[in-house]
Symmetry: C2
Subunit: 325 residues, 2 copies
């Protein structure tokens, strides 16, 4: 089973076919960065059109069982998430509405302070806000997973603590391996995994050691070390694949409508666009390469299967439904 914990591709029939070629059974796709509620609904609408048009390649996923249906019918199940809480605006009632529409992950922040928590680019990390605590409780109730991929350290550790259900970092790597602002320090990874949560390892070059030049072996050795440290059952892939996106999209991701000045995020004035993906992971057809790479660094078949999809399957199964009162 192959499940990818995060992608934000410029979706097309070509990519849907590559998902099938790569035997990707399920993928969590971002459908909002800075969108309002109504704009996010337009993105749900766009996906409904794709499900109707490409019903032989993809299907909407809302529970782990849909992954079984997708496998049985040779399709990829698409699960929705947001990289910012902007779709819920300032209205806690929208959490259940968005879950009903299919949202299954929501980051409490993107890079900036939100109404709920601090983003990893803020100078001050003030932790989970008053509203943030209420929102985590409501997300726990309906089965919308707290994702802290872009949040600051204290906020993430507090979220793992406040949340009564496991949380996720869908796409990031250990800071120790590659000291990027977006990567996660040991205490953060411990707080998330000890709470039953998941880490999805990112293939976005800014999160990789040596960026685009990162070797498959270095990536796989990092995964194997993380399995030793945090336990293999808490690990998966969250490729952060942004295939075929124009550079205007990375500008939108970084700057939204919050600034009139350009913010280069993990990039720089010299290279403001999307970075080149590593040669061994260009698109969805390359998951087999990672699978082989993990075996090559000494992980056994069960461990590799868990990381490539089994762990995300279990996590989806346990965390996408309403909490039992």
């Amino acid at each position: 089973m192959r499940i990818d914990g995060l992608q934000y591709a410029n979706w097309s029939e070509k990519i849907f076919r590559q998902l099938r070629e790569g035997r990707v059974d399920a993928v969590h796709v971002t459908i909002a960065y800075h969108e309002t509620f109504r704009e996010t609904v337009l993105n749900f609408e766009q996906w409904n059109r794709w499900f109707e048009t490409y019903g032989d390649l993809i299907m909407k996923g809302t529970s782990a069982r849909d992954i079984d249906v997708a496998r049985d019918t040779n399709r990829t199940a698409i699960f929705f998430g947001f990289q910012n809480p902007s779709p819920m605006e300032d209205d806690i009632g929208l959490i259940e509405i968005l879950h009903t529409l299919g949202a299954r992950f929501m980051q409490l922040t993107y890079n900036n302070q939100s109404l709920l928590a601090s983003g990893c680019y803020e100078a001050e990390d003030t932790g989970i806000t008053r509203m943030g605590k209420q929102v985590i409780k409501e997300m726990n109730r309906v089965g919308l997973v707290v994702d802290m991929s872009h949040s600051a350290d204290r906020s993430t550790i507090e979220a793992a603590d406040v949340s009564e259900r496991p949380i996720a970092i869908t796409h990031a790597n250990p800071f120790e391996w590659s000291p990027a602002l977006r990567n996660k320090k040991d205490d953060v990874l411990r707080a998330v995994t000890q709470n039953g949560g998941m880490i999805g390892f990112s293939l976005y070059p800014h999160h990789l050691k040596d960026k685009s030049a990162c070797t498959l072996q270095s990536f796989c050795e990092m995964v194997a070390r993380a399995a030793d440290t945090y336990g293999v059952t808490h690990l998966g892939i969250g490729s952060d694949l942004c295939q075929d996106q124009p550079d205007s999209v990375v500008e939108w991701m970084r700057t939204g409508r919050w600034s009139k000045e350009i913010d280069f995020g993990e990039g720089s004035a010299a290279s403001p666009g999307f970075p080149e993906m590593p040669s061994w992971f260009q698109d969805n057809r390359d998951f087999g390469t990672i699978e082989a790479g993990l075996r090559d660094v000494g992980m056994n078949a069960d461990e590799v299967a868990a990381i490539m999809g089994g762990n995300w399957y279990r996590f989806f199964d346990e965390n996408f439904g309403a909490s039992v009162p």
Copy 2:
């Protein structure tokens, strides 16, 4: 089994308890008259709060099977509908979104011309518009029932013809029995029922012979005659009960934001408010009275059971899911 095809009460714990006292297994409730999409979402949110707070009395209904669950757990299943297409605004993609949120009926018009069809108060009835035809097709696809309760005659007959799935008049009576503008002429009732559709008989005084003074016997004789004429399988109740609503609400229903002048609709300057309900149908505890009244005019037990809920159950079962391609 007791199913009511339309209510717009000022919902409260009191009314939820009366639904249980009256053994109402399911009710189709109006959650939008003139609301935009975002305003309608607020109404879905309000109902989510009620489902959470009064989970021992009510539950959300999306398919006929939920009525069985409600009966088994001594609750009432609440199904949602709109008396105007305003929640979908000018965006055909919102039809599936609203269906996903739980909408199961949508009127193509309230009393006025809409983007889709003509309302029964317009001087000209131009039938189903270009957009209306597209919308009916999409409603058929997702399983959102076309309701023509407030639409003009030609529009209704055309809708019954254009729609590939049965349509409904959830709340109205035969014009022949009570010649109100909102009641339906023979050719309209034939078009709807011959297409497999349903008629819900209204207890709203403006739709009754002699209005608030209408007798139970006269109402039940009308139902029995309709069963002879159109076939008992196409008939149900759609009480149009607007319990505990202040008169400001009937003003909103009639005038929305489309006029600065008051429109009295079925009322008049002399009696602009909600009319007094007939003595024998004051609230949800009185469905047994209608049941007994139908037996008293000679209908047999099977016929009465079909009208009180069996027919709506079958109709819900056949028309709330996606069409089979």
